[in-house]
Amino acid sequence: MADSKYVLEVNDLHTSFFTDSGEVKAVNGINFKLEPGKTLGIVGESGSGKSVTAYSIMQILAQTGRITSGEVLYKGEDITKYSEKEMQKFRGSKCSIIFQDPMTSLNPVFTVGYQLEEAIMLHTNKNRAQARERAIELLKLVGVNDPEKRIHQYPHEHSGGMRQRDMIAMALACEPDILIADEPTTALDVTIQAQILELMQKLQKELGMAIIMVTHDLGVIASMCDEIMVMYGGRVCERGTADDIFYAPAHEYTKGLLRSIPRKENMNKKLVPIGGTPINLLNMPAGCAFCPRCDEAMKICLTEVPEEIRVGDTHLASCWMNVKEAFENSKEA
């Protein structure tokens, strides 16, 4: 088991938040496997559980949050069974994360250098001076100009794009096997977004790490992911390659999502938003989570959670529509 082909394997992960108004089931049985050096994209709207999945892997959930069941295997070892001490060693050295908002993700009262050096010294035997050298090296790597000067500055003296570069440098300090990017470009303007994505791809090639890209931006995901996972209501609706998802969507939610963004095909048409509101995670429907908003919903969708069904070589979807189609096809045959 210890020598797994996968750098990360998530099996039937459930995460809940225990609030005053009840248990909020944010993640309801997520499975995925990640090979070294590959990129997995997780897309979904706000509240679909994509960030919570990422935080669950790192076990950096808010105080009320807890993994209620399931496994997270890092190279075959279940890290949900790790003690807090072991997790501290895991975080930052084996698996790092960069966050959505670089403006608030760096501590305002410490210099960028201090924060980078802290990350380095936590997981290596380097002293302060060696850590400083490494920090300058890292800032160079992520394309921060004049790092010798920049390292002495406070976060508020860096621009948004530069702070995200600082964050990436910090995440890469110990050359982790996995980099989780939680909406890394959402808070940045478009030109900087492209630069940051390019940088991440370049670094992935150089360092050979696996990336989990969490985003609600389908454009970001299309260009750089080997596999895409579409999430809704804490479950995976559909997974496949970019071609599968974009050209042959097999889940009503994905189809709706694609109808709602501008593409070459719908250039001159009105965009169609998905009706309704995201589900209330406090009170999950018995059947498919998307059913209340789905135009094609059938009787079974109300009561039974759809299983993942293979619709192509690399393509799986959890939608009863596919079963119906398969059934009709078999009847015709």
Binding site: R91, G92, F99, P108
Partner: protein
Amino acid sequence: MAKYISKRILLAIVSLWIITLITFFAMNAIPGGPFNKEKATDPAVIQQLEARYNLDKPLGEQYRLYMKNLLHGDWGISTKSGRPIWNDMIEKFSVSAGLGLRAAVIAIIFGIILGAIAALNRNKLPDRLIIFFTTLGTAMPSFVLATLLLLVFCLKLGLFPVFSSENPNYTLPVIALAVYPMAYITRLTKTSMLDALNQDYIRTARAKGVSRTKVIFVHALRNALIPVITYVGPMVAYILTGSMVVENIFTIGGLGSTFVTSISTRDYPTIMAVTIFLAMLMVVANLLTDIVYKLVDPRIKLD
């Protein structure tokens, strides 16, 4: 920084001058004077006394003379004791400051620790206990607390002497002085700590693999202390100058009780001296607060 400090000192001189002006004329507007007694005094004696303290001159002239002497370092002579004020004032101040400094240190240390404990155990028993007692601490007037302390620990339990001037025991007065600021700092620290703990940079620190203790005491606490510093600066100045109520209840001759006595006896030079001295302390405390602020929070620009 040097430019900022010199600017602040210039401004402080202006405020101090305005304070002398207001105090001087307000004080003289109160009916009665230092030599009005219940028993009639010989008019010749009064005249002689008034001449000695320049009280026979017009008010504007009196002020001019007072300021001239003050600028030459002469704080005047008390109309009550007939002795130079400066030495007496410093002596009383050292008593008050000795008490106040102990109380301030206790308030700051325990306030921050209790606040952090409350924040980390939010809605659990330690938090509820701390919040209950700090609410009590902020709500109870100091004369009630001081009297209760005296009643319970001195009279009922006999743990401390009620008062002895040869061997003064400062424990109870220090407690009486420290409770309110401590309770206030506790609540302030709890709120700002909770706020800091919910910030994104705390999540970043955890994601780096920083231990829980270090996340709390390095990454969160330093940010949480910023609002606390704003309160602590003026609080220290206030507490150092002594509390009239606590000093009176524990019969401690400090600056607080001196100040009140000087007003009731219309001891003009002492009123002026103590007011100016307290204002100077306040100004220095505020300036120090701003400088410490800048050291803790690099985003603040002093100019």
